[in-house]
Each structure stands twice: as structure tokens, then as C-alpha cells.
């Protein structure tokens, strides 16, 4: 087997690493800032969180388009053969869920900001259109929607990471290296 052929494309690996770090950071900052009292720090974190959210949304779109244009390598036959049916199904469902939430979470955050009367101006320079009206009731619905969608994404990321670690340390099937930057073990 040609070890290079089973790897994800370099762009996919870079985007995976970048978005992985961004999402973990966004989740931590999001949890922390929501409980802060009204202060300049809170305002700063909220704005940085919004700007980073737009970056996540944009990179996720690039990532999805790249995935469609250049589909990822199939699971190696050796790995697939050892996976029970439920794992193969869960593998598919989890990835569809992750991609849905990559878009849903930032979009809900954007909508929540707009509904609360705070238009998004990326990096304080590029104004984005509001696609929901300023409405207190709507904002009250979008806030928990953004929060719980983010929890769902965090949950799926945990499942995703646990599964990857299981393949690496328990099954020792080298699956993890397909997303890595080191030498491929296949």
C-alpha cells in the first residue's frame, strides 16, 4: 500500500488542525465570557468571539467545498474490516453532524448578535448584513440555541477525538496519522 495515498490532502489537514484549535478556543472563550459581568473585557471577548466565529464559518465553507471537490481517502480496508456495523454508521453520522454544526453554531451566533441589535463588523472593519431583525423575543430564543448547538458540537468533537484516540492507542491501526503532519504509518 502506498502510504501517501491514504493521507488527507495537505489543505484538508491544515484546515482540520486550524479549525480544531479554533473550535476548542471558541468553546472555552464562549463559556468564560458568558458569565462575565459587563466590562470592557467582556465587550472585547464578545467581539473577538464574533470575529473568530466569522473566520470559523468562512474556513468551514472552504473546507466543505474542498471536501466535495477532493473527497477524503476511504477508510483503509484493514480498519473497516475490524469495525462493527454500528461503528461504521456512527462514523458517517458523526461527520455529517460535525459539518452541520460547523455552520449552524456560527450562524446561530451571528443571528443572536443581530437580533440583539449588535450588527457584526468583522475586525471592526467589514460590516456583515443582519439576516434576522432586531427582536428581543427572537434574541431570547437564539441565545440558548447558539449555546446548546455549541454544546452538541463540543460533544461530537469529544466523540470524534475519543474514537481517533481509540484507533491510535487501542487498535493501533495508524488511522490518526492520516490527519497528521509526521511520517505515515500504514
Amino acid at each position: 500500500m502506498n502510504p501517501v495515498a491514504v493521507r488527507y490532502h495537505l489543505l484538508a489537514r491544515v484546515l482540520h488542525a486550524l479549525l480544531g484549535l479554533l473550535l476548542v478556543g471558541m468553546f472555552a472563550v464562549g463559556l468564560y465570557m458568558a458569565d462575565l459581568p459587563f466590562s470592557p473585557l467582556r465587550l472585547k471577548l464578545y467581539n473577538w468571539h464574533k470575529w473568530a466565529g466569522v473566520v470559523v464559518l468562512t474556513l468551514s465553507l472552504v473546507r466543505l467545498l474542498w471536501r466535495l471537490a477532493s473527497p477524503p481517502p476511504a477508510l483503509p480496508i484493514g480498519v473497516l474490516g475490524t469495525m462493527p456495523l454500528w461503528q461504521r454508521r456512527a462514523h458517517g453520522v458523526a461527520h455529517v453532524g460535525l459539518y452541520l454544526l460547523f455552520f449552524l453554531v456560527p450562524l446561530l451566533g451571528w443571528a443572536y448578535s443581530s437580533a440583539s441589535g449588535f450588527q457584526l463588523v468583522v475586525f471592526g472593519v467589514w460590516p456583515l448584513p443582519d439576516w434576522v431583525p432586531v427582536n428581543e423575543t427572537l434574541a431570547g430564543l437564539l441565545k440558548p440555541a447558539h449555546r446548546y448547538a455549541a454544546y452538541a458540537l463540543a460533544g461530537l468533537v469529544l466523540v470524534h477525538v475519543s474514537a481517533a484516540l481509540k484507533h491510535h492507542f487501542v487498535d493501533r491501526d495508524g488511522l490518526l496519522s492520516r490527519m497528521g503532519f509526521g511520517r505515515v504509518r500504514a
Binding site: F38, P40, K44, S116, G117, F118, V121, G124
Partner: protein, 189 residues
């Protein structure tokens, strides 16, 4: 005697419109608004005052004699977001407990053209006063006159957003004030 009473009545009647037109000028609050737009880290944030009142004596033909006074209930400010609204009355922002009202008192009114006027006056917020120049455009339909305009103020002039909030890279110093007042009893333009 009868002709004297009659002529006196006629005389009074002929002056009445002028007297009434100035003293009976009223602001219709339900059809009026005072809004403002500030910027937080580049993002425009608009708010408005729900309660305000005016005392007006204004004849478009005699702008120099005009007297325009407004008072704004600072506790009635809203950004439409409950969490932020709860902050506005605090000492660092509007200090509503100490300074419940902002006031405007005109000092000079100038007519620019058929519908546009320039109102100079003193704006007092949080106990601090500053001279402002307010462009006003009037439009009349029936008995109502709608006055619209917009002018910039600097929030730090009035110590709005004091102390840790004085950093203008977070909250810009410039705040745009917009208004639309519906008035009755203003003489014809």
C-alpha cells in the same frame, strides 16, 4: 359702545392666531423619537430615549425670536438589549440617580432656506454643558410639522462611559444623535 366692543373683539381675534400659534405649540411624543448611534469596536449600536418633552415657541418667519427647550428622561434610554440596558443608568454611563434629565436650551435659531434651519444651543448631560449646532429640516402636512435632524456629540465631553470605559478604541467618542419631532401649532413655513 357696541362698535367699540365689536372692534375690540375683531382686534383680539386678529391677534389671536399669532398668540395661540406660539403658546399652543406642542410636541406629540408618540409620533416623535430621539435616537443615538454609538460604535463598539467598530459595530454600530443604536438606542433611543423613550421619554422626553419640549417647550417650544417657534415661528419660521421669526427665527431670531425662537425659544426651543427639550428635556430628556435619561432613565428611559434603551438599546433594545436587556443586559446592556441595565448598565446605562449606572454612574459610569448616564448616572441617572444623580442626573435624571438631559436638557437642551436654544440660544440662536437661523433660517438657512425654505425648510432648513440651524439651531444653536446648550446641551447639558450629566451636569456638563456643551454648545451644539443642530441642523433641522421642517416638513408640514396639515396642522402637523415634522422636524428631523442629526448631529454628532462626543460622549467624553459629558463623561458618558467614564473610567475603564474611556478607551475610545472600545467605545468610540463620537455619538450620532438623530431625532424626528412631530409638532402641532407651528405657523406655516
Amino acid at each position: 359702545m357696541r362698535s367699540f366692543v365689536l372692534s375690540a373683539t375683531l382686534l383680539a381675534a386678529s391677534f389671536a392666531p399669532l398668540a395661540v400659534s406660539v403658546s399652543a405649540q406642542q410636541l406629540l411624543p408618540a409620533q416623535s423619537e430621539i435616537g443615538f448611534v454609538s460604535r463598539q469596536m467598530g459595530a454600530p449600536v443604536s438606542g433611543r430615549f423613550k421619554t422626553f418633552d419640549a417647550k417650544l415657541a417657534f415661528d419660521p418667519a421669526k427665527p431670531a425670536a425662537a425659544n426651543i427647550a427639550f428635556s430628556v428622561d435619561m432613565g428611559s434610554a434603551t438599546l433594545g438589549d436587556r443586559e446592556t440596558d441595565a448598565e446605562l443608568p449606572k454612574p459610569v454611563w448616564f448616572a441617572v440617580a444623580q442626573f435624571p434629565k438631559a436638557n437642551f436650551q436654544s440660544t440662536a435659531v437661523k433660517r438657512l432656506d425654505a425648510t432648513r434651519f440651524e439651531v444653536a444651543g446648550k446641551l447639558t448631560i450629566k451636569g456638563l454643558s456643551s454648545e451644539v449646532l443642530i441642523p433641522v429640516t421642517l416638513a408640514q402636512t396639515g396642522a402637523q410639522t415634522v422636524a428631523t435632524g442629526s448631529f454628532p456629540i462626543k460622549r467624553l465631553t459629558f463623561r458618558i462611559g467614564d473610567q475603564e470605559w474611556s478607551d475610545t478604541s472600545m467605545v468610540a467618542d463620537a455619538v450620532q444623535v438623530n431625532f424626528r419631532f412631530t409638532l402641532t401649532g407651528v405657523p406655516k413655513l
